[in-house]
Subunit: 479 residues, 2 copies
């Protein structure tokens, strides 16, 4: 049998499993082959869209027998090429996008069971309609899927209170590398019966199994939310403000974001219609957004929030502050914060890092990295923003004003990366706080982790995927 007819046979067999119209190979595959950031485009053998866990399991079983590697894909919004095929044309993209049902919302148990392809925002809305909260909240929520959120252990803006996706999941259903289905969909808050395979699968980016459904924790829906935007002189004060917020607000503190001056300036520049507080001067070095979610009367929690801010002013932690007085203003403030990624994109490609260090080390980390980069790349602009409450900053370096972004990145990316990685190491941090490893950072993982840790990861990969069929080239490269 020649190559072409062998391909044809494979496609026919896959079509027999999911239906011929759900195996796509002879049209434009760019929406699956191209990553969100337009960083790379692979070439897939085909895109297969199963309608159910059983179909997906049969696809995996077939691919395992045929020796054909699989790239699992949810909303394809990842930032580290974790769902992008290589350019061999020999990998099958298995998309969960047809498996998008919300299976159950159990109000009394405060849990939701959903299929992997359910879009995050759809789950958020359905849960809210049931009078509860699913707190995972991130920029891509209109497109990303629950399966992808689990595979990458998604974080976002409310981790300070609710944790990462890892903490929000009670159990998963998963298709293993041999096509067997493991059903770990337990809606239990306590279950100590053996190794926690759910926790092992979360964050493994589809390299140990394909998550097909999950049971997630829900929370009481806050009755009111208060949001403030403050201007600050430096990150030490931001840290003081964070401590004060923890002490005054306890678990009502559901968000604590910081934005460097340059990040705010880019929003002012590219989205001039947005009412950025303290613009257009933007003289303060840092801005902070504080979100407070409360239960019971708005006046009661409002008074607590006001008192916290008064204390912050009195202690001179903040130079100025505005408070949203209604839901519309609140949404507006968040919209400004969430416009930073788009504003920097409009300014031109930059050198991106998604770092974390202990919260207490944030000011020194930023100072260390800034100083070294400023010396190495005079005029570089620092677009720094992120989740101070979790010690997580998006630490991006932009070309000097007026310089060409692409050639800047080409020239300086390696050098800037080295400086940032060194500072991360100095402060016991992580080179990928939220975004994961994918193929983009797989080499960096090998450079950073101890031989012992790499060996354990490889032994787990070999134990669960001996043929190396699941998302090869991602997370942990073979030895």
């Amino acid at each position: 049998m020649n190559m072409q007819s062998y391909s044809h046979t494979l496609l026919t067999e896959l079509g027999n499993i999911v239906g011929p119209s759900w195996v796509i190979s002879d049209e434009d595959l760019s929406r699956w082959e191209q990553d969100w950031n337009q960083r790379a485009r692979g070439k897939a053998f085909a895109v297969v869209l199963p309608a159910s866990t059983d179909e997906l399991a049969s696809v995996v079983k077939f691919c395992a027998q045929a020796g054909m590697p699989i790239v699992p894909q949810g909303g394809n919004t990842g930032l580290v090429l974790g769902a992008t095929p290589d350019d061999s044309g020999g990998q099958v993209i298995v998309s969960t996008s047809r498996m998008k049902r919300i299976l159950e919302i159990d109000v009394e148990n405060m849990t939701a069971s959903v299929q992997a392809g359910c879009v995050l925002q759809e789950l958020q809305e359905a849960v809210q309609n049931a009078g509860l909260l699913f707190p995972l909240s991130l920029g891509a929520q209109g497109s990303c899927t629950i399966g992808g959120n689990l595979a990458t252990n998604a974080g976002g803006t409310q981790v300070i209170r609710y944790g990462n996706m890892r903490e929000l999941c009670l159990g998963v259903e998963c298709v293993l590398a041999n096509g067997e289905i493991w059903n770990g969909m337990r809606a239990l808050r306590k279950d100590n019966t053996g190794y926690n395979l759910t926790q092992l699968l979360i964050g493994s980016e589809g390299t140990l199994g394909i998550i097909t459904a999950a049971t997630l924790k829900l929370f009481p829906l806050p009755s009111v939310q208060h949001t403030a935007w403050a201007a600050l002189s430096d990150l030490d004060k931001a840290l003081d403000l964070l401590q004060l917020a923890h002490r005054h607000l306890g678990p009502s503190l559901t968000g604590f974001e910081v934005m460097g001056r340059e990040a705010v300036r880019l929003v002012v520049k590219h989205m001039p219609s947005l009412p950025v507080p303290f613009a257009p001067a933007c003289e303060d070095a840092w801005h902070a957004m504080i979100d407070c979610s409360a239960y019971g009367s708005a006046s009661g929690s409002g008074a607590v929030f006001e008192h916290f801010l008064e204390q912050a002013v009195e202690k001179e932690y903040i130079n100025d502050v505005v408070v949203a007085t209604n839901e519309q203003q609140r949404a507006q403030l968040w919209h400004i914060r969430e416009s930073i990624p788009m504003a920097q994109a409009q300014e031109g490609l930059n050198i991106k890092h998604d770092i974390s260090v202990p919260v207490s080390s944030i000011p020194k980390f930023v100072e260390t990295a800034h100083d070294a980069i400023a010396r190495a790349v005079p005029g570089a602009r620092f677009v720094t923003f992120g989740h101070l409450g979790d010690g997580n900053l998006h630490y991006n370096v932009q070309a000097p004003e007026g310089e060409d972004a692409i050639s800047f990145r080409h020239t300086f990316e390696k050098q800037v990366n080295q400086i940032v990685y060194q500072a991360i190491q100095q402060f016991d941090g992580s080179f990928s706080a939220e975004h994961g490893i994918g193929s983009l950072k797989a080499e960096q993982l090998l450079k950073t982790k101890s031989d012992t840790e790499v060996a354990i990861m490889r032994s787990i990969k070999d134990a669960l995927d001996p043929l190396g069929i699941l998302n090869p080239g991602k997370v942990i490269l073979p030895g």
Copy 2:
């Protein structure tokens, strides 16, 4: 070399690693060989007490070379024979009790780094002195160790708000089966760089590695706590009350316990000096304890708590309620709750279960199991209490009034277990919510889990401990 001199050589070698006085073999070993519940006593080759991670690693390396299995042990307060050696006389107990230092409390990062042998209560107190909270809270806290808490994924009374030990840990240091040390002590709230080995090790009961230290999450210290004790007619009303508490209190709800009438009666009987609310009649079928932790002024949160209770009375969820008006009264109410295990022990051995089901299924689970047991064992008494907020009940069956406890347990344990396990299965529950598997429930695990899940667990065990040196006979038995 004969057996005796070979033993002597092994002891000498171990003594060379940790110092001869920290290898104990020729005196009474019962405090290490006998489990807390006096359920079984094993016979160890020796007890070894390393002073450091390096010493512990050398002990493991030596044992691996000598082919001598290791039983890791913390405070020896487990309830499933997870830290008890077999009776071969060939296993070495490795106790972490000398490795008990608190390494660091980072107030700004809200983390603590501790060695595995640190007693839970000592950590709680040190953290409180630093103005923060480590929320894990359970009966054995005066004796159990952080290492044991992690190895068993301890739960306790505040899981409803703070999660299990799993959710409280950011990273561990661990000695692997080959004696290598893996340092995963990252004080980061976001870190997506590869498989989460910390989460795999937590709850693995020393069968995949020996946890030697950990970095734990801390929380703002509540400024005030409110506690109520309510009398209820049935579990459906308890569930209504729980929902109401979630809606009114949000994350301030830090405890929601229920106690069946018989559990309360046993406290009244055996601890007559304790001021049990609504005693001596105990006519209500169920009692509930609700704990609320707040920040800011006591009057503000007190009013919210009172309003919640008023609503509960108005909706007739509760028949009666008392509220602790000071810290002493609050401690007293908790003391009553925590006296139940002792009271039932004084009444005589009973048949114990540590079950969980979805919170929404609790009333039906209890009804189903009660009916079947009452038919099978007329007069059996149900000592039911636990953490309703997590769907976790300690579901214990006591001999009929006046009957001999030991012969009752001997006669009926198997039959009662079968009924309970069947009900657990019917309601998608867990046969070990908090206590783990150890050797006591290892057979039950094999009966309950799918072949697929058992195969994954075995492949992980083989990958991380190919010689089967770490706590053999616990959690996952070989095929």
